[in-house]
Point group: D3
Chain length 118, copies 6
């Protein structure tokens, strides 16, 4: 199983556990998370870039993977995503590098998948 | 091996490494950690809930697992633990969600184990 | 002006600015924040203690002050609040001490105010 | 003196102290910081929005103020900036609210200044 | 009153409040904090440099000031302290810069005081 | 494959991905990272100890492993490294313990490898 499937399957399986167990507060967090990235004065693309880069400085690998998927879906080029992560890396310091490494591996896999689909 | 055993075995094995190598400062941290969760003006249950939720906002999966074990042992219901983690999730933001997911998986396994023992 | 009034006035004035400017997402965060601390499987007191201690390990002075107010209002004794903060300090390390110092100053002022009101 | 001048004067005075004392590493950080926000595959505006929102989730008031100045300069509307900060607030949780409050105060002052200049 | 006295007086006054209110756990944290920086396999100077730089990446201004005082007392040159902070700044990213600025202001004041005493 | 090889191989493979994809900003971060740990007013050993301990309080396992390798290479004794990590653990709190555990496992493996080479 490749790293894309591994992440997606694990995420889906565990999200089901959260939903089965969640109280009203956790349900609201999930629904808030959804409306947060919809178009408003800022477009969806910019909001996803914010999601990606804030996740990267907070060093959350799973959050980074999720927003990488979205950023690729919404049409960002690889270099645009790399540049966004570069800004986050300057802000967050070299402590971010191991997370950038894993993000790059995932990003490469996403673009490979995309090319195979076309 | 299930996720409970995997965590417990790894933790025990590595704690032994720490103890074998530790200086007086690390020894003191370990002993301080033990007395911290004993009953005082606050009862043990409330202190473990603090241990769990502060670990969750600081996004330390291993610490969360440890306090989940203790919270179940001390008699919290599943919904009480979920609600405590819900508060932590609001405080800490959606960046906490991947850690909540893993916590829910561990919590389910703990309650399953508990039911099998009864 | 004492430190209680200073905090309360500043907080109220700036919350008004947030509300005047906020989009639907920020409005939802504010409403979620309110329902988070209401009684459920856990009582209000435990939830406020979680609010206080997670704020302390995340080292947010203003959040700590807010939850100190609530904890005093809900009837915690000073020693119970101190013990809760002690647990948070062990979890979060000596980096939390300057925030603990400011919390203690605020806590003393709150109990002084409470005694004057009785 | 208003909050804009207070921040700008303090920042300029202290930056001078850093520059007078800095070694080659700190000099490089400063020069890297400058090239980070220049146009590439992503435009300057998107990069400043990343600077603002990553600073907000990392809860650095001074960094937020700096990027607010830049975002206003580059032509973002107030609602766009508010929405960007809303996303950051969801990611970072309610612990970000006190920083959002101070950011809103600064943002209002910046737009007031801008209107007076026009 | 200069920035050195302001910090020292405030710190002393609030430490008294902590000590008056503290439970056994907080007392232990304070005593652990003291023994942590005593000579062992590593000398006191190296330990204080660790105290300074870990405080800087965790962005705790008061902790930084405290360790700056100790580092100057123990005989570090200004350039050595600046270089140590430079390493911390690379690790922690540009988000550390505002804290570096305040640290530089305090460091300058400490060396000025030292020269006046000689 | 042992834990040393596993880390080194993964790190090398992913660093190649970063280098293949990186923009000028990420390239600069990598080159800055290299010059940061060279001798200046502080010697290399002290700078690596700063790298290790700041990485530990920021709880980055991969960064810790990297600096453990360097600290062993530069001639620190095991007890010196343990003491440095002890200071970091006091500063960062018990939340650091799981990272200390993994660091101790890696440190033991490094000294075992070193003894086998002699």
């Amino acid at each position: 199983m490749n790293i894309l499937e591994e992440y997606r399957d694990k995420r889906a399986a565990l999200n089901e556990k959260v939903i089965n167990n969640s109280d009203k507060v956790i349900k609201r967090i999930y629904s808030l998370d959804t409306i947060t990235y919809t178009e408003g004065a800022l477009d969806e693309k910019t909001k996803e870039m914010i999601g990606l880069t804030t996740s990267l400085v907070l060093r959350c690998d799973d959050c980074v993977k999720y927003h990488l998927e979205k950023c690729v879906e919404l049409g960002y080029s690889k270099m645009q995503i790399v540049e966004g992560m570069g800004v986050a890396n300057v802000v967050g310091g070299t402590i971010v590098i191991p997370h950038l490494r894993r993000a790059m591996e995932y990003l490469d896999a996403l673009f490979e998948e995309k090319e195979n689909q076309e």
